[in-house]
Symmetry: C2
Subunit: 464 residues, 2 copies
């Protein structure tokens, strides 16, 4: 009789690895199905090689792409080996596809040689991830086109690289390729970079990148290529383009997974799943990019942990997930946490307060001549509860943790008032924002009291 | 009749400026007495020039010392101008000294030309700061000796600089001068660097500095100089020494302030004052370095804010001060918060748990080949309450804020478990520590559950 696994996990990225290892930790037998490389996008074509390239470029390493591939391959090999050797996990190489709605579920795996295996499992977890959105560009030589899947195969630094899109991947690669010496041109259809983030963030990171020589074209697109010349819709031309990176967004890999046969509900961004990974079909779960709920490694990991708990422990599935910050490892970094900018805009102005603190106006910004950085906090008008925080700063990805903790534990600006931040840290901007909130809201104290809370250098700039 | 000020503030550093501006904000007339430069050590010979030098050195600026002096002077001039122009504040240049215990208090100010003025004030705030401890070294040419007061007058990069002491100033200057190309030798009498910090921190920062070519001599001292050769007590010699920076600690400037006449109690580290700045004499207050309670700019600012409240507002002086982190802006940075290492060592081992997470073992450390960094957390055994946290990391001064907030609001590792840190940030080490605490303490869950919480790369290193 055929073996019935506790779970079949389709995809071995951040979500899938967490699921497989977590469930296996309970002694369950797991089938981990992977059509590509173990580790998924993060290890192979995402976070790991991109952060390695950022480091190699900033550090001026001699062979930056070799460094990137060495880091990527070493991690992939170890993760692969770990899965192969794991006693509770069977790594099955091939393309997984649901067949029927039967319980236990049957997953059909097609190997590269075309052979088909049937996997029977009590639970199926779909963590198939996402891929770069691509569209054709008239006249563009396909040899010049890159996505995140081919980018890290480069062996030479392109003299000129065009980045299509103005989101996380584009801004990180703009940083890296500028450090490597490329001419970098960003072309973004929307009117601003980081379209999902705060307009203040967009303005700030644009200024930072432009100050380093990155050229940014917003509100336009590439109409066509004429040889190596890109013609933009706004009339601008970019000559001698070596490479074009398509980084306009991610599309869930939920096609051709047999979801219809299994009756799993989908929407335009992927599989419909809740914050425990539950789909509409019993014992079929979905976590990570494939759900469109999160597009980050830490997001997939966080939801996978909840999904493991839901499957393996006899605990009720109640409680909201922890808030998940986003981070972009451009220079300066960008990070944000809380409700989306759309959700924020939908709230009445009268119910909230906005604080924008330029980092050039805190003392560390002064000593370091740091021009383009900012902390933006939107808070409830009376309670000071943090609705959203966004940071552009050298270590924004580390600084954001204070706001993540504040939101997780209901600590608003009122309670943050008085927190002592080391001098001279960029985080002092956070303290100054809490000071401003207190100034505006502690009605019982005389206004004059608050003269003392301004920063030393801030005042300087205000006066000059 | 002579004018009676609401307060006479002796010293215009971080504590004094905060006091003067804060009390003036209430409409009070303030006499601000300064024998040196407005802004005190921080602006003129401390934080500001040292951070400017760190930046100039790391950025490879052409004339690093010119940059430092320009930053320092610009800030000093603006702070000076601000005090001169302030309607409620009279800036009185000279050396202030208490005379009698009378109320209102009388402060005698001796100007540089020897003229003496008497200032009468209801309150006196002593914020006279501290100075570098100095001791003679046999055979050392005085022209080669530097302290923080003369260091930033350098015009050329010394080929070889010896830093006496292994604390904050020494480690920051080791970082800067190494970047500038100097041979840097640290000589520290204690057996380790950062004697007041965690031994793990000491080992980590030492390794980081040594990897960059800084030579560290601990458990020894300079016995004598023979020309430009330093002879250490352990037999080591350092040849061709250009400059020697004395950075062995700070001594409170509480001598010759007329404290005896006024009956103000002192101890070996300065004026005895509580966390509101209260001394034993009514309406005589002391804040900042001069009390020995804090030796940081943010510490003086924090206590000064409490002191302003105590003087200006009819509120009871109850409540503990917020916890104050320390930060050292070496590369990597060092930061710590919570009880001291001595207080920690005095607690029974059975009541606490210690977590040490090497940053080479988190994914960002892997992608950046970051070798020498660590997060150390000591927590109460059962509650997970943070007793002390110490970080050595690229942005430790920003990362420490999570722990400051955690201590301020009683958030222990149990509550920190589940916080989602951006991937791949160094702060993920904090999440992994919370995971470990949860693994050890959630007895109701099967051990196996916790297999899932280990980091991806961490496991790799554990296995290899």
């Amino acid at each position: 009789m055929k073996k019935t696994y506790k779970a079949a996990v389709i995809g071995s990225g951040s979500g899938g690895l967490t699921m497989a290892i977590g469930l296996a930790g309970f002694g369950h037998d797991i089938a981990l199905i992977e059509a590509g490389k173990v580790g998924g996008d993060c290890t192979n074509v995402g976070c790991v090689p991109s952060k390695a390239l950022l480091h190699a470029a900033a550090a001026g390493l001699d062979a930056p792409f070799d460094y990137v591939r060495a880091k990527r391959d070493e991690l992939n090999e170890r993760e692969d080996e770990e899965m192969v050797e794991h006693e509770q996990i069977d790594l099955i190489r091939g393309y997984g596809r649901l067949t029927t709605q039967s319980d236990p579920h049957v997953v059909e795996v097609t190997a590269q040689d075309g052979s088909v295996t049937e996997i029977v499992a009590e639970h199926v977890i779909i963590s198939a991830g996402s891929r770069a959105v691509e569209f054709p560009i008239d006249g563009l030589d396909p040899a010049r086109l890159l996505t995140n899947e081919t980018l890290f195969e480069l062996t030479e630094v392109p003299a000129t690289i065009v980045l299509i899109g103005g989101g996380a991947i584009s801004l990180e690669m703009a940083t890296a390729f500028r450090d490597l010496g490329s001419n970098v041109e960003i072309v973004e259809l929307q009117e601003r970079l980081m379209g999902n983030d705060d307009p203040v963030v967009a303005t700030t990171i644009r200024a930072a990148l432009e100050a380093r020589g990155v050229r940014v074209h917003t509100g336009t697109s590439i109409e066509r290529f004429d040889g190596t010349t890109a013609h933009l819709a706004n009339g601008v031309t970019i000559a001698d383009v070596d490479k074009v990176l398509m980084a306009v967004g991610r599309r869930s890999r939920h096609q051709d997974l047999g979801l219809e046969a299994a009756g799993v509900e989908t929407y335009e961004r992927g599989i419909v799943a809740d914050s425990w990974g539950k789909t509409n079909v019993d014992k079929i779960w979905a976590v990570g990019d494939v759900t469109g709920n999160t597009l980050t490694t830490h997001g997939a990991n966080s939801i996978a942990r909840r999904c493991i708990r839901a499957i393996a422990l006899p605990l009720p599935t109640v409680g909201e997930p922890r808030v998940q910050a986003n981070a972009v490892y451009s220079r300066p970094e960008i990070a944000s946490v809380g409700i989306t900018i759309e959700e924020l805009d939908a709230l009445p102005q009268s119910g909230r307060r906005r604080y924008v603190k330029q980092l050039a106006d805190v003392d560390r910004g002064y000593t370091e001549d740091f021009e383009h950085g900012v902390v933006v906090v939107d808070a409830e008008r009376f309670s000071g509860k943090i609705l959203r925080a966004a940071i552009v700063a050298p270590a924004a990805g580390e600084m954001i943790g204070i706001f993540t903790m504040a939101i997780d534990h209901g600590i608003g600006l009122r309670k943050m008032f008085g927190q002592v931040h080391p001098y001279p840290s960029y985080s002092q901007a956070i303290g100054q924002i809490a000071d401003e909130f207190a100034t505006e809201t502690y009605r019982s104290l005389p206004k004059e009291w608050w003269a003392m809370v301004r920063g030393r250098v801030m005042k300087r700039f205000v006066r000059s």
